[in-house]
């Protein structure tokens, strides 16, 4: 080992330690931000070190510099601008997009090394096996994550897409991947087999993600994130770089655990999610207004304003509809109006409210909702009995009392006990069901008043009427 190699190995080791400690620190809200910064510091160290290494090595050609610099500058520019400008409601699809390109980069590295080395005499298994895994996993996450991005942003229909013959096509693609594996490993001088493997894995990614409903997409994004970690790790085997192996495996394992936790919070199993066909995505919840049952009570912005103005304790229950309507500013404004008049306002936040676990907290924090007003499930449930008005905004399944009973799609899911509060107002666009497709008896409860409106428009009207009663 030369001095430079020794330095490089040590620097990579330190940056790996930064990632591990960074992830560890991100488990607690107090240290999370510093954890991310520490992990970023590790990343900068690794990049500076590889830059020094290739300069010292001196093999890189002038066009090589151009290609590298152009790619980096354009990529950093695009990534940073996107990340800075994205509204907080659109973060999930952005993370999925970043995941797609990560998988794409890993696959590209595999293709590069395979096509460069395959021209020579046979390749060792130690090379051809990881290169196959790198390209196939990377290709799958690339196309799969792009579809997930499309589904979350509405460019691809959120409902499960199942077409005739999809099972057969799936089988053919799997066979193609196996053939590519055998040929790439057995006859590594023919570069066309890696093309077959790449194309088959891209189609596989599409077929895997299309049948999955929009509601399950967050879990899929997390799963694909773990896959990309593995692809990066195998890319590390291919180019014999240990920092890629360590960081990739770390993300692969940590991402798997995170995926399981997310699925658990949503009361779904990962296997069920991958099997697909569950839920209707955005369309179901915004779908055509089904007939309004006779036993529900409709209300107006004026009545809601009156109710709120004379309440002592108000609990706001935000859901997906609030995120979709981007009504977080309005909800914060209403809450501030009420607190300024000495009415207690809290938010009951279900773990899976919004687009994905924890997303609602991010949305509300973005509009300066004080952290101490955001109550998590257990704490909120202990407060409902003393709540005068529960204001449910675009939430459905997470408030459904049927979850306490057995024999339906949401049985056993932890819910917010909104039905225990003294009165309930539900702002919702229509009577359509939530993602789980289960009717919600809360809406026909005697204590419940339904206010049919878009969350943003409805809240604006309620703010106006509340003001008149408070002044």
């Amino acid at each position: 080992m030369s001095l430079l190699e020794t330095c490089a190995s040590l620097i990579y080791l330190i940056s790996a330690v930064c990632y591990v400690i960074g992830v560890h620190m991100m488990r607690s809200p107090k240290t999370a931000k510093n954890g991310n910064l520490l992990s970023g510091l590790g990343m900068i160290m690794a990049v500076v070190m590889i830059l020094i290494e290739i300069i010292a090595d001196g093999k890189i050609s002038f066009p090589g510099w151009i290609a590298l610099a152009a790619g980096l500058i354009l990529g950093i520019g695009y990534g940073v601008i996107k990340a800075r400008k994205v509204p907080m409601t659109d973060v999930p699809q952005l993370v999925s997009l970043f995941n797609a390109v990560g998988g794409g980069a890993a696959a590209t590295i595999g293709i590069f090394d395979y096509t460069r080395l395959a021209a020579g005499s046979g390749l060792a298994l130690a090379f051809s096996i990881p290169v196959f895994l790198d390209v196939v996993i990377g290709g799958t996450t690339f196309s799969g994550s792009l579809i997930a991005t499309g589904k979350l942003s509405g460019h691809v229909p959120g409902k499960p897409i199942i077409f005739p013959g999809s099972k057969l096509l799936n089988g053919l693609v799997v066979i193609a991947i196996i053939v590519a594996a055998v040929m790439m490993i057995g006859f590594p001088t023919n570069i066309w087999y890696i093309v077959l493997g790449l194309v088959a894995s891209l189609i596989f990614g599409l077929l895997m993600t299309l049948p999955i409903g929009g509601a399950d997409m967050p879990v899929v994004v997390s799963l694909l994130n773990a896959f990309t970690g593995l692809a990066v790790s195998f890319a590390g085997f291919v180019i014999n770089n240990q920092i890629l192996i360590i960081a990739g495996a770390l993300v692969g394992a940590a991402g798997t655990i995170l995926t399981l936790q997310m699925a658990e919070a949503m009361n779904r199993s990962v296997a069920n999610i991958i099997a697909g066909g569950f839920g209707g995505g955005d369309e179901a919840s915004s779908g055509a207004a089904t007939d309004v049952p006779a036993n529900i009570t409709e209300t107006s912005a004026d009545d809601v304003g009156l109710q709120l103005a004379y309440a002592h304790n108000v609990m706001i229950v935000p859901g997906y509809g609030l995120a979709a309507a981007q009504a977080q500013h309005e909800v914060a404004e209403l809450a501030k109006l009420l607190t300024d008049h000495d009415i207690n306002v809290d938010y009951a936040i279900h773990p899976v409210a919004g687009r994905m676990p924890g997303h609602m907290n991010v949305l509300l924090a973005d509009v300066n909702v004080p952290y101490d007003q955001m109550k998590q499930l257990d704490e909120a449930n202990s407060m409902f009995e003393n709540t005068d008005v529960s204001l449910v905004i675009g939430a459905n399944d997470v408030t459904n009392p049927l979850a306490r009973e057995s024999g339906n799609a949401i049985s056993g899911m932890p819910i917010l006990d909104v039905d225990k509060s003294k009165s309930i107002v539900v702002i919702k666009r229509s009577m359509s069901t939530g993602y789980a497709g289960v009717q919600n008896p809360l809406f026909s409860d005697d204590k419940t008043n339904m206010f049919f409106s878009d969350a943003k428009k409805g809240l604006q009207d309620i703010i106006a009427s509340t003001k008149t009663y408070l002044s």
Partner: protein, 107 residues
């Protein structure tokens, strides 16, 4: 099995175990930022883009090197930026109440 492969495999397996261990139960609040943070870490693939750019010697390879560098740079730069933005919201001075809740996330 050669020594290099064995060393890499050992590192791979041990890193997986570290990953499993380091990610014990985390609060739902932090699951989205955590996913984004992990996403940024696999942006380390940018190191691989440097490695292949150094080996590229014809147009086909330059294009691949460019693609890898572009993809990886979007991943790493965007990933850290958006994670930092998300987490920044938790320790911002709170707007509604003037309470100095430095600790932010005890509940």
């Amino acid at each position: 099995m050669n020594e290099e492969l064995y060393a890499n495999l050992a590192i791979f397996v041990l890193s997986l175990l570290v990953g499993f261990e380091v990610m014990s139960k985390i609060p739902a609040t932090l699951q989205t930022p955590m996913m984004s943070g992990a996403n940024a870490i696999h942006g380390v693939v940018v190191v691989g883009a440097f490695v292949i750019a150094a080996e590229a010697d014809n147009m086909y390879f330059y294009i691949l090197a460019f693609l890898a560098a572009f993809f990886a740079a979007v991943n790493v730069a965007g990933g850290y930026t958006v994670t930092d933005r998300m987490l920044g919201m938790f320790d911002r001075p709170t707007g509604g109440s003037k309470k100095d809740d430095k600790s932010g996330g005890e509940k």
